[in-house]
Amino acid sequence: MSFLRIQNIHHTYFSNQTAATALADISLDIEKGEFVSFLGPSGCGKTTLLSIIAGLFPPTSGKILLENKPLNADSDTSIGYMLQQDYLFPWKTIEENILLGLKLIKKDEGLERIKTLKLLTEVGLGGTGKMYPRELSGGMRQRAALARTLAVDPKILLLDEPFSALDYQTKLKLEDLVFETLKSFGKTAVLVTHDIGEAIAMSDRIYLFSPNPGRVHKTFEVSDELRELMPFDARNHPQYPILFQTIWKELESLEY
């Protein structure tokens, strides 16, 4: 049995004038500890699917099972969600921000607190606990957001283009950090991106989505050699440009 099962998801957005189908017939399985990417042009419903997995709203039809149980975002914290921007609360210190998830379930005392503050050091933000988000750079803020997400010890991490608002150098460094951190905690992760290189460098498997309505167009398995490497090194591996070209051609073919 797979860790995360997505079964026959359909989703349609209704408004007064229109009924726009964003997702049609999506079924896929993700194993424990895997890192998969949803890749595709804008409007292919990849963020919609991620939001549905996160439980932000229910799909029009279909089921999502995590460890064979239906997901319910309002009652547990098994899902961690990272957005395009950090969305750290500007009126809270970094420490308060990181402890937010635990505070909501009233576990921000004692051991959990110490563990979380250690997490801050692990993402390279030691000593910034008393600072406010505005005092940190974009990359540091996104790292703080990662620590906030990991603090509640989610079973699965959903990453919605978390590197897209960063400059290139910071992005490459953060890719490595996120990759390393997730592997060391053995976390399962789903990354939504429109960046082919990022998808190849980070994931074990890539789902390419086609638009109108959003469907899984093709699945690419990333070779074992690339999987083992850190994202930065994967980008320099000879197999990287080959896979890049393959996916690039598929993406091009979608446009016509």
Partner: protein, 263 residues
């Protein structure tokens, strides 16, 4: 090139500018009061209507020594502060209720528009009959004048909070109460503070009008009394005191703003 020296120059030019502005401010103050005094003495303006600073000052000292000024100001200040606090608090609570229930807010929308457009002081006579002539009705006047506008402005601020903050909280499984406490309310503090600033002025209007209508005490009463016995020095004195108190209240709100908003 000497960075320190340039920095020093920059700082001293800033200081000079500030000093100049302060000088102009004091100048306006002095020119206003001295020409008021002069015009009144030369009878270029009617001294009976416009009085003069020295007369106002003499009356101030006299009323201060016989203790009546203190009790009148105290009463009005108490009513205004209470009206201000009640108005702002009720307005914010009402805004929270509207945020809580979108259906309630849609239902009440036209009524809020009507209530906001209506001149609240026109309700004065009804309030006075309902609460009786005295403290409660004057405080109500001070409060009612700011409740609806506070509700509308604060509710709008609640709705404009970036939905992504709520998304973050939702993925942590936050309840609606938690979303309100952790994101909606703190994100709206700047707006709430700026409505406080508006409400300072509004509460004074409500209370003074309330005192016009019923009271036998307070600065609004002094104004009406002075008007009836044609003692415009008394009217001017009451106006001056209101100006001073309103300014102090405004400064206190600004102090609160600096404490509350670290960003």
């Amino acid at each position: 090139m000497n960075i320190d020296q340039l920095h020093h120059q920059y700082k001293s030019s800033l200081k000079k500018e500030n000093r100049l502005i302060r000088l102009y401010q004091i100048l306006i103050f002095l020119v206003f009061f001295s020409s008021w005094e002069l015009f009144s003495r030369k009878e270029w303006i009617d001294p009976l209507i416009f009085s003069s600073p020295t007369k106002v000052w003499q009356l101030f000292m006299q009323k201060l020594s016989d203790g009546t000024l203190l009790s009148h100001s105290g009463v009005t200040l108490f009513e205004t502060v209470l009206g201000f606090i009640i108005g702002t608090l009720l307005g914010t609570v009402l805004a929270s209720l509207l945020w809580w229930s979108p259906r309630l807010s849609k239902t009440l929308d036209p009524y809020l528009v009507i209530l906001n457009a209506m001149p609240k002081v026109a309700l004065g006579p009804i309030i006075i009959v309902a609460f009786g002539p005295g403290f409660p009705s004057i405080i109500s006047m001070g409060a009612i004048i700011s409740i609806i506008i506070t509700t509308i402005v604060v509710y709008t601020a609640f709705r404009e909070v970036d939905p992504n903050y709520l998304k973050v909280l939702q993925t942590f499984g936050a309840t609606r109460t938690q979303k309100f406490r952790e994101a909606i309310l703190p994100a709206s503090f700047p707006t709430i503070i700026s409505t406080l600033k508006v409400n300072v002025g509004l509460s004074w209007v409500g209370v003074v009008v309330g005192e016009f209508l019923v009271s036998a005490k307070g600065l609004g009463y002094l104004i009406i009394y002075g008007f009836q016995v044609f003692n415009f020095t008394l009217v001017m004195l009451a106006l001056m005191i209101i100006a001073v108190f309103a300014t102090i209240m405004y400064q206190l709100v600004e102090l609160l703003e600096r404490k509350l908003i670290k960003d």
